[in-house]
Amino acid sequence: MTPATPSPAAPLEVTDKDSAASAKPGAPKGSESRSPGRLAWTRFKRDRTGVISAFVVIFFFAVGILAPLIAKVYGKDPYTTYGMNTPGLLNEFNFPVKPNGGISSDFWFGIEPQLGRDVFTFLLYGIRNSLLIAAVAALLTTLLGVVIGITAGYLGGKTDYLVGRVIDILLAFPQTLFFIAFWPVVMAIFVSSEENTPVWLTVTSLILVMTAFGWASIARLLRGEVLALREREFVEAAKVTGASPARIIFKELLPNLWTPILIQSTLLLPTYVTAEAGLAFVGVGLTDPTPDWGVMIQNGAKYYQDDITFMLFPGLSMVIFVVAFNLLGDSVRDALDPKTKR
């Protein structure tokens, strides 16, 4: 049931179809019965906004996954400084000679000023990296939030109280400020100042930090849901038959919680994409040679008074992605919960 693979595209594609097939491990066997998940899938298919945004989101994930392949067919990579290597692409101020950021048949989205890197492949790899980080962070956050939230809600008592206070503290914490202030300190612990910070370390710590601060809201939501569910008679019925707490949590409660989990995680991912880009923009997280949405916007911000093209591509693509993903999240919620009317 859980979206198993941590690959960037997996959570979305799996969860969408998963919700439809969730309660139906075997085929319907020709009977007319329709599971709640199947009903939701039917409703979702009727929602035009939802379907379109689903396609947009899938497109972005496909682009991210296939970035190396596309770059190979296209024949360029995001690291080579084409502008410096090939004379005639940049003028004496190191700006592209051709208009609109040097868009040409060779460089579809133009070339960067100064270094002269190819914007198109840089964007591809930027999407790839950003989505990877956001997807893994969203997945871990959901997992942690679900486990802690359900446990706290089901056990209640002292555990619940303790977890509740931890959540309160985390939610009251100024996260962005914390990142900016402590990032150099944390990095200094791991890497001496002479060396370059390895990319994997940056990525891992980004994911971990975002997860550590993100699980609280999901956990709080699920705790409330479990508090309501555990008083229901079907939980008592399971207890009377001698079911273990683990069985009650995973077989009885969890299937009833897929709706809030799915909604929360689909709304979480775009938040993480923007958060990660925001951090990169202020210089925390991924830095320049590594392609990233935030890094691109940071670079674009240097030149936008002279040429807005470099700002336009990463900015526009990110807006499209985030809007599509949020609309998708709304549609998923509407499909799963037919009672909410907008």
């Binding site: 969730s22 309660a23 075997g26 319907p28 066997k29 009977s31 019965s33 329709r34 599971s35 709640p36 229901r232 008679e233 079907f234 008592e236 019925a237 399971a238 207890k239 009377v240 038959t241 001698g242 079911a243 273990s244 069985r247 077989k251 009885e252 299937p255 009833n256 897929w258």
Partner: protein, 352 residues
Amino acid sequence: MSSTTPLLDVSGLTKHFPIKGGFPIKRTVGAVQAVDGLDFQVAEGESLGLVGESGCGKSTTGRLITRLLEPTGGRITYRGQDITHAGRKQLAPIRSEIQMIFQDPYASLNPRQTVGKIISGPMEINGINPPGGHEKRVRELLETVGLNPEHYNRFPHEFSGGQRQRIGVARALALEPKLIVADEPVSALDVSIQAQVVNLLQQVQKDLGIAFVFIAHDLAIVRHFSQRVAVMYLGKIVEIADRDDLYNNPRHPYTRALLSAVPEATVDEEPRERIRLTGDVPSPINPPSGCRFRTRCWKATEKCATEAPPLVEAAGNKPGHLTACHYPETTDTVPAPRLSKDGLTKNPEAAA
């Protein structure tokens, strides 16, 4: 009662729910005495009805027997084995023998599981592998409770209330229990469906020899279903007797009042004298001293306030007919005409 050990023996069963209060440090400031010293037995294959008004502790009793709640005191013995404080592991072998049917058929079935999964769940948990597999057994059970075996793959939301309650019955039967605690199994259903479900339960009881603890507030249904009936008031059993004995010769004033409240379907007969109880049920947080019914009883004296009446065989009772009253009613006592008139003058709008 037979001399052999009963299937279920409950003695002195007590459940007090603590009330927490105080600031900043919470402590127990009182207790809701939901169930206070119950004694009763259920023999094999027997059906014991448990009646009483809302809040008298019937459902709590049911949940104590099935060990969904931890008793505060007393003993629950199942076939000579003390299960009062048994843990989940210790209870495991007994779990399959005591099952429960719940009140609300809309809350007692997991909306995300198919009927097949709901009914086969108990068998999975208890590691029972019937010949021919779980699915075959579930289909048999569906047929037993009068549902179409082809409903195996359906979800609860596709069924009506009565059908859902049948699924609940099938789930309880899946483990071939010896005792079923039915907690108001029909009060959430409409009257025509009530009869069907009660008849189904009766059929099940007759065919499979299952003992029942049948909790209800509808006297007619209990009379139809149970061989013995216990009347509860404010956490105590006030009277317990064989069905006919109890209905024809109620000894406790409360039982009498309760029976007189049953509406009559006949028009020609002279209307029965109706006993109107005044006041409300006292709070179980602070129950009255002595006899708990004394605040509403028309016969209450000084003795009732100081001395709690024991549940004994009152003079003139048949064996097994126990009453907890200092001044038991007799057959020829006209049920409290004085109070009846009082009630009329006190509540003119109720009489109108």
